[in-house]
């Protein structure tokens, strides 16, 4: 006699049941806020009044006509592209180094992972002191070696560089801190990718006389493409949507909005300014950009894996 199959043994019951918590999580903590953001972005809701009416695309036309929004969009693109490029380059160098054996490798690995384990706000506050306009230890060092703070000095006669007070230096500073933060993630992803490259291919190329750069461009990078694609995707998402580094270091300054990015502008407009609808419209602007990027990168990655 065939044993009776229990209710929970049925795949049609068990499979959805096991997926349910993840599905609920996505619906409650991703889907619902996303739908709310979309509804808010086409409404006239304010921070002080949750009752609202739908106003169509009014908020979108308003933000597109706003020079501050356009500046923030430009800053976001610069912040993201430069950060991601630097993360890719440095993560690749670090991954190459960490795949070799040397004394104290565990310590180097530990130090590289540290920025990822510490809360970003804490790290950013540390950098805030590091880049302080008056008490920056970097400036102190530069003054000490004679590069700053006296007539004819290479970096100028002023006592400080004013890292966060000058537009270009301020943008460079937030990129630097963000790269410091994302580097561990990029490195770990690339190490796992490099470990998956079959050693025989590399060894065969070596025996055929292929040098380092030949191996890098003809073997490593093509085989690493899917992993690099994932790194680009993660790094872009983390950078495009981040406001912690900007908020702690510059709050969008120096004026006028030299480091304002879309995430900080959405907060500034929606919460500090009270115009929640326009803040949501700025935030929802991420969606088509990031969704488009995700589709392109994932398609390219899929193609690379198949071929």
């Amino acid at each position: 006699m065939k044993p009776k199959k229990h209710f929970f043994d049925r795949e049609t019951v068990l499979a959805p049941l096991l997926v349910l918590p993840a599905g609920l999580y996505i619906v409650l903590f991703v889907g619902f806020p996303f739908v709310m953001s979309f509804v808010y972005s086409i409404s006239n809701v304010t921070v002080g009044n949750p009752n609202f009416k739908i106003v169509g695309l009014q908020n979108f036309t308003a933000i597109l006509a706003d020079p501050v929004f356009r500046t923030s969009l430009f800053n976001t693109v610069i912040f993201t592209v430069v950060s991601v490029l630097l993360v890719l380059v440095f993560a690749h160098i670090l991954a190459e180094l960490l795949l070799r054996d040397f004394r104290g490798k565990w310590l180097v690995r530990f130090l590289i992972m540290l920025p990822w384990t510490a809360p970003i706000a804490l790290g950013a506050v540390g950098f805030l002191w590091f880049l302080d306009s008056v008490f920056s230890p970097i400036d102190w060092l530069l003054r000490d070696v004679g590069l700053l703070g006296k007539p004819g000095a290479l970096l100028g006669p002023a006592s400080n560089l004013y890292w966060l007070g000058r537009p270009v230096l301020a943008m460079a500073s937030i990129i630097l801190v963000h790269v410091w933060r994302l580097l561990p993630l990029g490195t770990v992803i690339l190490i796992s990718g490099m470990n998956s490259i079959p050693k025989e291919i590399v060894e065969a190329a070596q025996m055929d006389g292929a040098g380092y750069f030949r191996r890098l461009f003809d073997i490593n990078l093509p085989l690493l493409f899917p992993v690099i694609g994932v790194t680009i995707l993660f790094a872009t998402f983390f950078t495009f949507t981040d406001m912690t580094v900007v908020w702690v270091l510059t709050r969008g300054g120096p004026p006028p909005n030299a480091t304002q990015v879309l995430a900080s502008l959405a907060f500034l407009t929606g919460i500090e300014g009270g115009d929640l609808a326009q803040g949501a419209a700025i935030a929802i602007f991420f969606f088509p950009v990031l969704a488009g990027l995700a589709i392109i990168v994932l398609r390219l990655v899929k193609k690379a894996i198949v071929t």
């Binding site: 929970f8 004013y162 890292w163 300054g253 004026p255 500034l268």
Partner: protein, 473 residues
């Protein structure tokens, strides 16, 4: 060891979850029952005060008030930067605290809070007239609604280093913006110490910029809430700021946070700042020799003799609509706080300034040395500003005297009109600091920068007019 099958796991997990759910609902029922049989609770939400001593007094005071009225009072302190977002979340949730204290006018929350006209009228009946800066920061003349109750505020004077100003021939400090430009430039050139007015996207820069505009007989709006920024006097003020930057400041000020001018003063790297007396109090504790050298000046006068300073902090309490059940308690708490404002001023080390100067001083032990003949809060306030009870041993007397009549030269955000939501958004999105900074950095002409800022202001006003919180004119 017995293996656990998939079926067992799901079954046991299901039973466990159901057990937990039943258990927690039983606990909830018990809690609900306990609550109904308990006395009432009043929950307060406010910032962590800049002067920690104030919170050390306020929290036990609130508890003691609760004991007297058979109420459990809880006081939750959060960071100043979290106040707006926390309260917004509570409004959407429809539950939270009963009484929320802001330190800037929360006029955009008007649709979600109770009209406090009754408690404001009651306070005026009991304690006399409220200072105008407080009324304009809690009353909307367009909707005729008191969205808040303002029990106090903080003065924002000029703090200057006397020894530096003495060396350039101006020991009494600047009285006008022109003097600030001339003598702060001399101090920077001769003594290498810069002026300390910020030009960044932060609170103190916002206040300094407004003080400059008002003293140049202009502003963002007029008394009828019409945008008036785009005029010759604003251009004149912006050009003045450019001059002030070129001659007395460094690019450091573009990166300043609200704490930067305090830090610069305490570190001996600023000749003059616009800040409350808290910067001086910090110096008293950390660097007494600097504190002894810090003196104060009232609002600086502009080219036509007008002199206004911004309030530094304005304490406006609101009662959300969802807390209607406890509104009677919250209102009584506010009235009793005003009745005890001599203590609030004392415990904040004179940081808090009363909105009701004519509130009577209660009899008996007040926790501070007796002020003879003091009948009203104004009397103790004046006595303490004549002779600062928190001065360091050997410190000069009468340093706070110039601030005694500060209510005459202190203005609210939105002066000469009310602190409406449009003014709140202009303040919150740093339209004015950016207007000044664009010109100081040489990126725009004064005329173009003013035009851009005025256009931003008009757009913001139009939004809030459409919301019905400002009357269209």
């Amino acid at each position: 060891m017995k293996k656990i099958s998939r079926r067992d796991f799901v079954k046991k997990a299901g039973v466990g979850a159901a057990g937990l759910a039943i258990g927690s609902s039983v606990l909830d029922l018990n809690k609900a029952f306990a609550q109904t049989s308990r006395r009432r609770t009043l929950r307060l939400l406010q910032w962590s005060h800049f002067v920690p001593r104030y919170d050390k007094w306020f929290d036990p005071y609130a508890k003691a008030w609760g004991e007297k009225h058979n109420v459990d009072v809880t006081v939750d302190h959060i960071s100043l930067s979290d106040l707006r977002s926390t309260f917004a979340a509570e409004i959407v949730a429809g539950r939270g605290h009963d009484l929320i204290e802001f330190i800037n006018p929360p006029s955009d929350f008007e649709p979600s809070v109770l009209d406090l006209t009754d408690v404001n009228k009651e306070a005026e009946k009991k304690f006399g007239k409220q200072v105008p800066v407080a009324t304009r920061s809690s009353y909307n003349p367009d909707t005729r609604k008191y969205y808040g109750f303002c029990h106090g505020w903080t003065i924002d004077p000029g703090d200057y280093r006397k020894s530096l100003w003495e060396k350039v021939g101006k020991p009494e400090g600047p009285k006008t913006w022109e003097e600030l430009l001339v003598y702060a430039a001399k101090i920077k050139k001769q003594l290498g110490v810069q002026n300390g007015i910020g030009l960044s996207q932060e609170l103190d820069t916002n206040m300094a910029g407004r003080a400059l505009l008002w003293s140049f007989d202009t502003g963002t709006q007029d008394e009828y809430e019409r945008v008036i920024l785009d005029n010759k006097r604003t251009v004149e003020a912006v050009k003045y700021m450019k001059d002030l930057y070129d001659k007395t400041l460094t690019p450091e000020v573009f990166a300043w946070t609200p704490a930067s001018n305090n830090q610069a003063l305490i570190a001996g790297r600023a000749s003059y700042i616009l800040n409350s007396i808290s910067a001086y109090r910090s110096a008293q504790k950390d660097v007494p020799e600097i504190a002894k050298d810090v003196y104060f000046s009232p609002a600086l006068k502009g080219p036509r003799g007008t002199g206004w300073a911004s309030e530094h902090v304005i304490y406006v309490s609101v009662i959300p609509k969802f807390a209607t059940a406890n509104a009677d308690l919250a209102k009584q708490f506010l009235l009793d706080l005003v009745a005890n404002y001599d203590r609030a001023v004392w415990e904040s080390e004179l940081y808090a300034t009363p909105s009701f100067f004519n509130a009577p001083v209660p009899h008996g032990e007040r926790g501070y040395p007796l002020v003879r003949g003091a009948k009203h809060v104004r009397d103790v306030f004046h006595a303490w500003f004549d002779n600062d009870p928190f001065a360091l041993p050997g410190e000069a007397k009468g340093k706070l005297l110039p601030l005694k009549n500060a209510e005459k030269w202190s203005a609210n955000i939105g002066h000469p009109g009310p602190a409406n939501p449009a003014e709140g958004e202009i303040f919150g999105t740093f339209v004015i600091p950016n207007m000044f900074a664009r010109v100081a950095q040489g990126k725009q002409s004064a005329e173009d920068s003013v035009k851009q800022a005025a256009a931003e202001c008009r757009k913001i006003f139009a939004k809030w007019e459409a919301q019905g919180l400002i009357k269209k004119r």
